[in-house]
Point group: D2
Chain length 398, copies 4
Amino acid sequence: MKVVLDPVHGYIELDDFAQELLATPQMQRLRRVRQLGYSNLVYPGANHTRFEHSLGTMHLASMLTKNLDSIEGDKKTEIKAASLLHDIGHGPFSHVTENIIDKYTRRRHEDIKEVLGKGEISEVLKKYGISPGNLAKHVKGETSVAQIISSEIDVDKMDYLVRDAHYTGVAFGVVDYNRLINQMDFYEDRLVVERGGLKAAESLLVSRFWMNTSVYYHHVTRISESMCSKAVECMIENQELDPSRLRQMDDIDLVAAMRNATGYAGELSRRLDTRRLYKRALYVGLEDVGKGVLKHRDKIQRAENEIAELAGVDSQNVLVDIPKTPEMLEMRAMIKTDHRMIPLNEASHFVSILQEAHMDNWRMGVYSPKEHCEAVGKAAKDYFEFKKAVKQFKLTDL
Amino acid sequence: MKVVLDPVHGYIELDDFAQELLATPQMQRLRRVRQLGYSNLVYPGANHTRFEHSLGTMHLASMLTKNLDSIEGDKKTEIKAASLLHDIGHGPFSHVTENIIDKYTRRRHEDIKEVLGKGEISEVLKKYGISPGNLAKHVKGETSVAQIISSEIDVDKMDYLVRDAHYTGVAFGVVDYNRLINQMDFYEDRLVVERGGLKAAESLLVSRFWMNTSVYYHHVTRISESMCSKAVECMIENQELDPSRLRQMDDIDLVAAMRNATGYAGELSRRLDTRRLYKRALYVGLEDVGKGVLKHRDKIQRAENEIAELAGVDSQNVLVDIPKTPEMLEMRAMIKTDHRMIPLNEASHFVSILQEAHMDNWRMGVYSPKEHCEAVGKAAKDYFEFKKAVKQFKLTDL
Amino acid sequence: MKVVLDPVHGYIELDDFAQELLATPQMQRLRRVRQLGYSNLVYPGANHTRFEHSLGTMHLASMLTKNLDSIEGDKKTEIKAASLLHDIGHGPFSHVTENIIDKYTRRRHEDIKEVLGKGEISEVLKKYGISPGNLAKHVKGETSVAQIISSEIDVDKMDYLVRDAHYTGVAFGVVDYNRLINQMDFYEDRLVVERGGLKAAESLLVSRFWMNTSVYYHHVTRISESMCSKAVECMIENQELDPSRLRQMDDIDLVAAMRNATGYAGELSRRLDTRRLYKRALYVGLEDVGKGVLKHRDKIQRAENEIAELAGVDSQNVLVDIPKTPEMLEMRAMIKTDHRMIPLNEASHFVSILQEAHMDNWRMGVYSPKEHCEAVGKAAKDYFEFKKAVKQFKLTDL
Amino acid sequence: MKVVLDPVHGYIELDDFAQELLATPQMQRLRRVRQLGYSNLVYPGANHTRFEHSLGTMHLASMLTKNLDSIEGDKKTEIKAASLLHDIGHGPFSHVTENIIDKYTRRRHEDIKEVLGKGEISEVLKKYGISPGNLAKHVKGETSVAQIISSEIDVDKMDYLVRDAHYTGVAFGVVDYNRLINQMDFYEDRLVVERGGLKAAESLLVSRFWMNTSVYYHHVTRISESMCSKAVECMIENQELDPSRLRQMDDIDLVAAMRNATGYAGELSRRLDTRRLYKRALYVGLEDVGKGVLKHRDKIQRAENEIAELAGVDSQNVLVDIPKTPEMLEMRAMIKTDHRMIPLNEASHFVSILQEAHMDNWRMGVYSPKEHCEAVGKAAKDYFEFKKAVKQFKLTDL
């Protein structure tokens, strides 16, 4: 039994199986994929990686399965492996390339089985008698026990909420995960939280809410990631990058490729390296812009072109960012009390109202170089056809 | 300049004036007055005292006044002294005896001037040229600068929220007080929070909300404090305790007196020492019991007697606890943006909905020895004349 | 399974047995016995109690026994109980009354069996089939498994080092106890640390060293405890206090008794309440005073009288404090490597030199009211017959 | 005044000057230079950068200069800038390329003036009326006030010790820097620690000692950095890398170049990416190998070739690593007491013995692929001509 020191959880134990999986090039690659993409442009400490998050997730999964007598030993080993490998399919700057991989290649989840079935990982799995196919099902969340890694309240979320808080310095990323893990169990094939864990579940929701507003939806991160995403798409279209290779690349490969890129992609790359970011030409909530805007999510490119035309600027100067409507899946976690299960947002009035507040976090953004912000902002308002007086920057943006 | 080490704020600097005030018997007494009364029966670590809280409050007040150029040097010295002395009028088990002192003697605030005007404290004040009368005004919150110590968002609250969290172990008692203090200023004679401090102000509200549900309104604390309060009243009525002495006593004096008490007070004292507490016979929220119940707050004694009669038990077996309707004063803190001020609950949607959730924390309790709980519970329901099916113990109580 | 929240270890699980033991008046008394006696006069946060330390010790003992397959289930239960009850025999202000109990009554350890064999505790033990006699042996450290609670490196020390650091705010009280516990095992009937735990064992030594100099041997604590000790002895001699009752008293009982005491004891009590402490008339290390001084440890009273006479002051004005020669028992903990055991101070050069530095911490003190310090200091030097120029206050005293 | 959130110090204030310096491409580059090079191969969380360390150093320098009335306002501004820019001359993987830059180009410090005198930084400096030449002197430590950034105990060390501890998770990296900063002052042109800061200075030494053994001298880090260093030298010799460009590169540039490298450098690069590291063929302390070995420091290359020949392996399979003899400069920090200054290791016996223990940390290493370790180890012993029975892996290595 070896150990590795993690600043979040302390010593994490590694048995032989875990050590051998970690020694594969596929897992070592995750040392060079940052957990939070460009968030370090806002929070300079946010340089942590998918590698340590994978270790932390495995650690919490082991703690949880250790408590659950209903899971057999073999399944525990599989879940441990699945939790360690759950991010193996992530490309560089995780969230940025995730959408691009989905768009230009087969969908992300479909080929996890393929990843697990080749190279050093497949050899390790073979040695320990685990089938890549079964494991892929856990990683994709297609089995019942996989709820441990991926469900309303899972060890993946617990780890990244506390970890992201540790590295950003945001004080409220506290999750009472020890308590939560001690209070989770399977009931009628659902992973539920016992009533004694209600407060801890509430703490996870507060944490999630706070990290959303402070970190995950921060406009500087979203602008940077929109810029990076646009650069990658340009490179793919200019045949300077092969989208099917993305999943094997790390952050270094991608940044090096962007630095070598020509034209617009190269320009965006230089801007990102020197933090000369686009600014918010428009930044509005759902109540301002109306729900209709969500139907534009599939035609971003067209929107950008038309807004640019209206504004009389080159289309490179317009980036449109329409996020999905926000939801906090955690709110539907099941709380078990006596012999019933109730969703968390019914068991806790506090959670139900957090949901309301959470909707406020949604913003549509149109970004542009500073010198074009005014023209692009006006054009975007016209394009999305809303007349309402837009409170462009709410107090809470600051 | 001497320093003292505080587990919450680290080194706290003490100038000569502070050292001399701390050396008075009146301040030394606060070493033996616990900050959270009987909360240590729930959170075993909650043994911290008014003494360290006073040090912490002074520390934060100094940090804040240092930033405020509009306050003159003399006033800064006065505020420093006022923040150090702000709890000098507290009796043993602060909250418990506060009401009793109000009831049996002159009101708490009226004689702060008297306390400051005699004994060692008055000598120190004289030496430093500070008038007890002026200082008393600051302590009572009757001056403009006193908003630093006592207003919607003040250094008193900042200190006790983080301090109580440190000693209870409750994770969410985090307040971003450094940020908050850096963002506070006087504007049109109000102590306001600049817009850059909005998120920090929100963090204080979350903290307050969380500490309320987890600590301040915990039913075990409320039961213990009801029991102690009843014991003290009995002792006063039996002339075993002189209410006018309460303000000079510390926790040790009061417990020693209770242990020597006869009759019912002695019985309650032994129960508290051995944690054989009364239980909840009735425990209901405002929506269950109706707002009408609040008018009973002044006739608790009568209510207890009548419920006991209805239940057929001795009146010693019934304790009625009707708290004031909850409010979170902090919500009305002023946020300054450009040249306007807006109340916090208008500036932040999140805060406005916390307010809603906060009302859920209110509970009326009727407490009784375990063996009489059923009878007393029924009688109490009849007495308060509500028919609604009472969900006696909500999920969130646990 | 109930839990209790501890600010040091987080949630601590309590099974039925632990809950029932905790509910006894004997354990509840420990809520009112402070862990560090008068250290709160130096570190205002140090108000924590033997009660929470007992919980923490049980928690760590459970963690350790869970790992040790060689210990049978029954023994694990006994050790859990013994760790929870290990301080049950402590009197008020632990260290102060420990010596007095030893002096005026039978020795501390002899009657643990008696304590466990009566009252509520004995009933609980009976219910769970545990013999008070066997348990007493564990508590007294007379069995092999008792090394878990009491040996060179034990869970008692681990808990109090981190706990005392949490409440004093001293930064270096860090012990890597998770690592240490994972690396401990029985080998040839000794509780040893595996070589993988060496660094963690070193961390415990640093912690111990740091806490010794900063907290445990702080002169203000030693002066206060000398004063309290003297007051208690006076009360016993004046028959104002029955020494055989000490072990049942809590801090409140003792302070209340001291406040009621007459004469010198009453005077010392008032001084302690208002922190008007004696000062150091003499304060010298072993190299200054010579090892011969240690033979005076048994005749303190005589030394005080003679010094007072030499100084021409009343003997009440002289307190002599000659501690035992310091040792750090932890240094002899056994480290296991391959199939050998080596003592820690041989396995680690770092530890061997800490030992050296540790000897520097020893100080003999003669204390006196400020106004007599000069005379008493000179007389004390003459009495102990050392001529060397005494560096009375070393740089490191500050 | 803007602020940035740092997980170590909390909010750090940025005035306009600091903001403009941070906005230059030269400072932005430091976002992509890791503080601890390859230490993340041992401590997965150690991904923090020179950028955040620069912010932290500026923050502490500001705290310190704020206290020092003897420094004029202008000098304070210069020191602030110098502390922010103090690492501007570092190449990728700081320590690795530092030696190479020294070897293949002009020495590191000589051209700081040149770096500050061109590009965006020079424009900002001009705007604020600061001469690059003066600033360079502060950065190089050639002025008296520069002791704040670079001397026995300076803000640079304070920041990196606590920062490295936060990201590695090593518990003992605690430095009581608030206390230390409050106790520092200039005296006779030396930056000294007042006697009240002695304990805090000791804490810095413990921290340094602990971080040295746990992190800075960890053999895995040293092996990786030896491998990286060798790869870079090969690339320079094969004209695949221009050494004069190193100072402008970031970690991404260097890793991308290594991945493109041919031959041995390419092989080392792939090994580093997949963590297939060389192992210790020999690893011995100074007492084993004798001080004579230090004279070999200048002819590493020749030693590697001859050992390889003796072992009958290709010279690529031998890396020799002979560190300088260890010293803890901090020990010579000056403590001021009354009107004298004494070096720290005389003022504190504890520190003097830490020095002794510190010498134990020195190790010479000869590294090689696992399959050649035995042969290379023997050859290395012969080459360095020492006959002593080598305890190859001391207990403390683990």
